[in-house]
């Protein structure tokens, strides 16, 4: 007997055995969710936020869904794609998780995409925001946002509010380039002029770039830096006196991340950004969420936390709809799902598996002695413009 035939036979038997399990028997099994997050390293605040939100969701909604016990396995990938991939592989093969979730950065999400496709395991992206991610696997569902989605409304708002000349300053990597391209395309189409600057990811000093902005004398500076760099940027912006020079600071919400906003101090006051979530979003759902989050986690939720919270929501609701089945059925159940999130009404686009949501224009203001992004305009039901353009 050849070894290969034996192996095939064994595999066949195992498959037959699996197929033979009745739905009733399966209902007894626990449904494991592998949550892979950067818990240490430069993006650790993302991991901390999402973990807290996911645990809060489980605490609020119980750990039994559709008759199956939900078990959360949290793994730290330190923000390195190789580690993410290895952890996902271990979780899928050894732990037989029903879904993998988390993914703090674009490369981390992309490294797992082939595994999700191969193993037919749903991959819920709760943070990474480059537009193309959901195209990497038909099993990817995203509950965070895409940068073009958050950027386009800002460009439209800027041109509608009399700005003619804008300089963009973005960090030179996937999401930054996404933001730059979207802003430039939208803003020039509306008749404005744009000058682009890219800052290297490892950049200790913004001064030469800010000096260039000061010399260009634009109406506004559009900025995207990954969350965490925002504070440093803001301080150098004021240090240079740009806040008093009449150059408005605009950007996506990453730069005034709720998690760090208070630490930035009054330098951040008046900054206008567009984003899908603010901790002071005015709704009953959000007030309850923020209160519960602060109580259990001890800090304020930000947009990362909300991505995690809603990510758990689609998994839970998907399990209910499919009576606890995972894999392809779960992804199909999530497609088209619509609900009222703490950030407002949202739905999962059945074609792109990306989230459709309101984008808000906000301004940093003092509320009860703390800094918040106060929303003052709403652009309803924004789809990711990159994929929407491809579909047309």
């Amino acid at each position: 007997m050849h070894r290969r035939t034996l192996l095939a036979l064994a595999a066949g038997l195992a498959a037959a055995g699996l197929a033979g399990t009745t739905p009733g028997a399966r209902a007894q099994e626990t449904f494991k969710i592998g949550l892979i997050l950067p818990m240490t390293g430069a993006s650790a605040s993302t991991g901390r936020q999402i973990e807290a939100a996911v645990k809060l969701y489980i605490a609020q909604n119980g750990d039994t869904v559709a008759g199956r016990k939900v078990q959360l396995i949290v793994k730290d990938d330190t923000g390195v794609a190789d580690v993410t991939k290895r952890l996902a592989q271990e979780l899928i093969v050894n732990e037989k998780v029903g879904a993998v979730a988390g993914f703090g950065l674009t490369p981390l999400a992309l490294s797992v995409a082939p595994l999700a496709t191969q193993a037919k395991v749903p991959q819920v992206v709760m943070a990474a925001a480059t537009a193309t991610i959901t195209e990497a696997s038909p099993f990817i569902v995203r509950t965070s946002f895409t940068l073009p989605q958050a950027t386009q409304p800002m460009a439209e708002w800027a041109s509608a509010n009399g700005m003619k000349k804008v300089v963009t300053l973005v960090t030179d990597y996937g999401p930054g380039i996404d933001a730059e391209k979207t802003f430039t395309a939208t803003f020039t189409k509306a008749g404005g002029t744009v000058e682009n600057l890219r800052v290297p990811l490892a950049n200790p000093d913004f001064s030469p770039f800010l000096q260039k902005v000061a010399d260009a004398k634009p109406d506004a500076l559009f900025v995207f830096v990954p969350s965490g760099y925002g504070a440093q940027f803001m301080r150098q912006f004021t240090e240079r006196g740009l806040d008093k020079s009449g150059i408005k600071l605009i950007g996506t919400g990453d730069v005034t991340d709720d998690d760090l906003l208070n630490g930035m101090g009054d330098a951040a006051l008046g900054v206008v950004t567009s984003h899908h979530y603010s901790a002071v979003h005015d709704s009953a759902e959000n007030k309850a969420f923020v209160a519960a989050f602060k109580k259990t986690a001890g800090f304020r939720p930000n947009f990362m936390g909300v991505g995690g919270y809603d990510g758990m929501h689609v998994i839970y609701e998907g399990l209910k709809k499919t009576n606890g089945a995972g894999g392809e059925a779960l992804v199909n159940a999530i497609k088209g799902m619509a609900w009222t999130s703490v950030r407002g009404p949202v739905s999962i686009d059945p074609q792109t598996r990306d989230i459709i949501q309101n984008v808000y224009i906000r301004k940093v203001e003092k509320v009860d002695g703390e800094l918040y992004n106060v929303e003052f305009a709403t652009i309803p039901n924004v789809k990711d413009p990159v994929k929407a353009a491809k579909a047309n």
Partner: protein
């Protein structure tokens, strides 16, 4: 553009304060101390904690930002580093990089991974216009502090008894011991002093460079570039190298933004091809 020149000089000065401790330990004591950034981080965190939790003003925290890392440096030198002086450079590299990882993990565990903020007094914020040149107040402050430091250090090394003993101890420890110089005490003091300078640099740099647990890894490359370009046998070398690199980095990013990030590395390569011993060092 004088503003660019000014920013570059200030940035270079900051690099110098951060790296001059390394110039002392690596250059004078011939110890490859990659953990240098960890001492700088310690200084930054001392300042951040004293300001944010204890409410001390920024200037009052600076002595502590020097003393605490110096004390840590002294303890580590007596207990760990002293055992590695005679080992080869690879052992020293492995040991000190291990220390870096431990420091990163320890700070992450105790302080959290988020950015720390240092609140500056209002008289150090903003900028003034001097003869048409926009001068940042905080950057001027850095330039003043660094200028004082470099003069003082050079005087100590070149003119004092301690300086000549140190140089003797480094060049030939056996003969120095024979002459009645307490070599190990001199090494300990020098190491502590180098660590303290790193701490001071970390405290001064927190505002511009940011401060989080990955600090020693993020900026290690810059310290090493300064010391390699400047050469390791004197302090003036790293000082001039810092200024050159600071100005080149800032100007490069300003005038050729698309290539800007590589200017500092290209400069290093050119210098090392032309003068492998460092820009301002005599060949050994």
């Amino acid at each position: 553009m004088l503003t660019i020149l000014f920013d570059g000089v200030a940035y270079g000065m900051l690099l110098f304060v951060l790296a001059c401790g390394l110039a002392i330990t690596l250059g004078l004591m011939n110890f490859v101390n990659l953990a240098h950034g960890a001492f700088a981080m310690a200084g930054g965190y001392v300042t951040a904690i004293l300001i944010n939790r204890w409410g001390l003003p920024f200037l009052a925290t600076l002595p502590f930002a020097f003393l605490v890392p110096a004390a840590i440096g002294l303890v580590l030198e007596r207990t760990l580093y002293v055992r590695l002086y005679h080992r080869n450079h690879l052992d020293q590299v492995l040991f000190s990089i291990g220390l870096v990882f431990m420091a990163v993990a320890a700070v992450d565990w105790t302080m959290g991974s988020q950015q720390q903020f240092v609140t500056l007094p209002s008289w150090l914020k903003g900028r003034v216009d001097i003869l048409g040149v926009q001068v940042g107040l905080y950057r001027s402050f850095i330039i003043v502090v660094c200028s004082v430091l470099v003069v003082a250090l050079q005087l100590v090394l070149a003119k004092t008894r301690f300086g000549s003993r140190l140089r003797a101890a480094v060049d030939d420890p056996r003969v120095a011991r024979g002459l009645g110089i307490n070599v190990s005490a001199i090494f300990a003091i020098t190491f502590a002093f180098g660590s303290g300078l790193a701490g001071l640099g970390g405290a001064l740099g927190a505002e511009i460079l940011g401060l989080d647990p990955t600090f020693p890894l993020k900026f290690m490359i810059y310290f090493l570039i300064v010391v390699t370009v400047g050469g390791t046998t004197s302090l003036t070398g790293p000082f001039l190298a810092s200024i050159l690199l600071g100005v080149a980095d800032v100007a490069g990013k300003y005038y050729v933004p698309s290539f800007g990030a590589f200017v500092i590395y290209s400069l290093m390569i050119v210098v090392l091809v032309l003068r492998p011993q460092g820009l301002f060092a005599r060949a050994r």
